[in-house]
């Protein structure tokens, strides 16, 4: 190579690129798999690969700002005497106190309540901050049963039996020792500072037949008032949704592999589960075959970022969506204002994913009192409310363009796909054709 060519002749391996080489070095130096937060970062077919067919001659649009386009959703009216009534079809997904600071949990409650939607607890139980600020709170019932308190079951507005999450279907929760503060340890009945590995299976039921009896118990304890959700990570979605319905769920929460986590092995995040785009049609098919679509409600999550994503998920058959990572970002996670702090811990704004480390400069995924104090719950709650408002307005804009007076009226017929993969997964035609690869005949 001549000097005048500089490094132009160097060729990076597509198989062993710098990221791969870095990980091999890290593994060789530590002997431990990499653990991080956030969600899958790999590229995969997603809502960006779908487009809406706006109205023209053959469809009649609604005026963009003033004509009615409702957004509300009722959850749990199949069996519960007190179903949830959300004003917008965007709920806050389960995130634990422990993974998040108390201030962050409070901010989520504040923002969601302003917009008339629900928040969700996580592994570790219910805090006063989130119950106090959440007008509608879903209480997770997890394999670990950390902090599981029947008083909280009765205080909740709905109960979510968690079988898995999109970031790690088949895996249990993690909370590393640096985040097990005295308060977190007390809530979870664990010694402070231990690396907490939650169970991946529930301790007192195995399989859908048992789960049906467990749900019966939960309904009895709460006098059949509360909606019961079942949350699953997207993998064998068609079968899992059928079994969830058989088990007696009012609501199925389906989390795609893009869904976030506070701490999980990198290999789990990137290599287990399926994209939400592929999972939604499987879930809808299962519900339709059982005659339960729109009766057992479907909430989908994992990579929801914009009102377009909301609209596309609903057009594919979801009744509502859940957001976790996007909600954290709305609070202030990965904000450029903390870039210098991110750099000091070897990251950068826009890249930060070490939620397991407990040193989040934005004060969200931490139990450090000084860092947590950086997040003003009122201010962060307003940011979240603004973001939820934008998601709703964007989804309404698209729905009106498609001539729909309610977001629930969006349908697969409104969608086309930009590429063969997305067309096959989402089961909508490739744009400009009537071809749904893999589904004709």
């Amino acid at each position: 190579m001549s000097e005048s060519n500089g490094n132009w002749g160097l060729q990076e391996s597509a198989t062993f690129d710098r990221g791969v080489i870095s990980e091999i070095h890290r593994a060789a130096e530590t002997g431990v798999y990499d653990i991080r937060g956030f969600g899958a970062k790999r590229s995969m077919p997603h809502f960006d690969d779908l487009l809406f067919l706006g109205a023209s001659m053959s469809r009649y649009p609604l005026e963009g700002y003033r004509e009615k386009c409702d957004t509300d959703v009722v959850l749990g009216d199949l069996n519960a005497s007190r179903p949830l009534h959300l004003s917008i079809p965007v709920a806050i997904a389960g995130m634990s106190f422990g993974a998040l600071s108390a201030q962050a949990k409070e901010a989520l409650g504040r923002g969601a309540s302003v917009m008339g939607t629900s928040t969700t607890t996580g592994d570790g139980g219910m805090t006063d901050e989130e119950r106090g600020q959440s007008s509608q709170l879903v209480y997770q019932y997890l394999p670990s049963r950390y902090g599981m308190n029947p008083d909280h079951l009765r205080m909740a507005d709905a109960i979510e039996v968690v079988l898995g999450q999109g970031a790690k279907p088949g895996g249990g929760g993690m909370l590393m020792g640096q985040k097990i503060s005295e308060r977190v340890a007390e809530m979870r009945t664990l010694p402070a500072g231990v690396d907490q590995r939650s169970a991946c299976r529930h301790p007192d039921w195995t399989g859908p037949d048992d789960l049906a009896i467990k749900i019966e118990e939960l309904r009895e304890i709460t006098d059949w008032e509360k909606p019961i959700y079942i949350k699953i990570g997207a993998s064998r979605t068609y079968y899992d949704v059928k079994l969830a319905v058989k088990s007696g769920a009012d609501v199925v929460v389906l989390d795609g592999m893009q869904g976030g986590t506070a701490a999980t092995q990198e290999v789990f995040i990137e290599h287990v589960g399926i994209p939400i785009l592929a999972a939604i049609p499987q879930a809808v098919q299962a519900l339709q075959e059982m005659g339960m679509h729109r009766r057992v409600k479907l909430i989908v999550s994992g990579g929801i970022r914009s009102g377009a994503d909301v609209a596309k998920a609903m057009a594919l058959g979801a009744d509502a969506v859940g957001i976790g990572t996007a909600a954290m970002i709305a609070l202030g996670c990965n904000h450029p204002r903390w870039d210098e702090d991110y750099k000091q811990i070897g990251s950068a704004a826009g890249f930060y994913d070490d939620y397991q480390a407990g040193n989040d400069p934005a004060g969200i995924s931490t139990q450090d009192p000084e860092l947590a104090a950086r997040l003003d719950p009122e201010f962060a709650g307003r940011r979240l409310a603004n973001y939820l408002k934008v998601l709703t307005l964007e989804a309404q804009t698209i729905a009106r363009a498609c001539g729909k007076a309610h977001l629930h009226n969006l349908e697969p017929e409104d969608l086309v796909a930009l590429n063969v993969e997305a067309a096959s997964m989402a089961r909508v035609p490739l744009a400009g054709t009537s071809w749904v690869p893999g589904w004709e005949g």
């Binding site: 431990v32 599981m148 009945t189 500072g193 231990v194 006098d223």
Partner: protein
């Protein structure tokens, strides 16, 4: 005492009556007849009351109990007294698996044998078993005491945190990170107290104590099992 026949009324009607605080002014004592293995009996109780279930119960009997004393004159299915917070549950017969699972407090007494996973993920409950317990009992036990007057099956106390285990008979095998520990006076004293509460006259000196070696509390490469025999998580 109030009586409720499950041959005549439903489980929903029974639990609604119990949750309403009784129905019988005064003693708040209940006799439940013809349970016939029905599930979720007397679950979610939340005030002091005496409940006797005269016969066999199904899954999750007395689940999430608070304050109440529940006696089952028969056998019970999966998860008796699961996640109990306080009060006392007594099973006069045998119990299926996951008895006392995730319990945070109170006392569970099983006069017969308990199946697998007795005391799994226990978080402060005390469990006294007159007979033997099955495999994986006290798995991931975090707090509380498990007393076994008979034998214990395979993998007792696997991945144990701070729960304390006392076994009089044989232990088929100990789980990961569970070790035998010396019996000191304070352990003999607390064991005597638990046996007295259960009404058993077994002698503390006949028992061995097991607890966590605390080697798995923090992740370290040397704790990771690479033999395919199961992980530590």
């Amino acid at each position: 005492m109030s009586s409720f026949s499950l041959a005549e009324g439903s489980v929903r009607e029974l639990n609604a009556s119990l949750h309403a605080g009784g129905g019988q002014v005064g003693d708040n004592e209940w006799l439940i007849t013809e349970p016939d293995g029905r599930h979720a009996l007397a679950c979610g109780l939340n005030e002091p009351m005496e409940v006797v279930i005269d016969g066999n119960a199904g899954y999750y009997c007395a689940g999430k109990n608070q304050h109440a004393n529940v006696t089952i004159n028969g056998t019970v299915g999966v998860g008796v007294a699961e996640n109990m917070m306080s009060g006392r549950v007594r099973v006069r017969g045998n119990a299926s698996q996951s008895a006392g699972a995730t319990g945070h407090g109170g006392l569970l007494i099983i006069d017969g044998d308990a199946s697998a996973r007795c005391g799994i993920s226990m978080k402060g409950i005390d469990i006294v078993v007159g007979g033997s317990v099955g495999h994986m009992s006290a798995f991931m036990g975090q707090a509380g005491r498990l007393v076994v007057c008979g034998d214990a099956g395979e993998s007792l106390g696997d991945s144990l945190y701070e729960a304390r285990l006392y076994v009089r008979g044989d232990v088929k095998s100990l789980g990961s990170d569970c070790v035998e520990k010396p019996m000191r006076d304070e352990h003999r004293a607390e064991l005597r107290e638990l046996l007295d509460q259960a009404g058993y006259d077994a002698q503390p000196d006949e028992f061995k104590r097991y607890g966590s070696a605390r080697r798995l509390y923090n992740m370290h490469v040397d704790n990771a099992r690479l033999d395919g025999g199961g992980g530590n998580e």
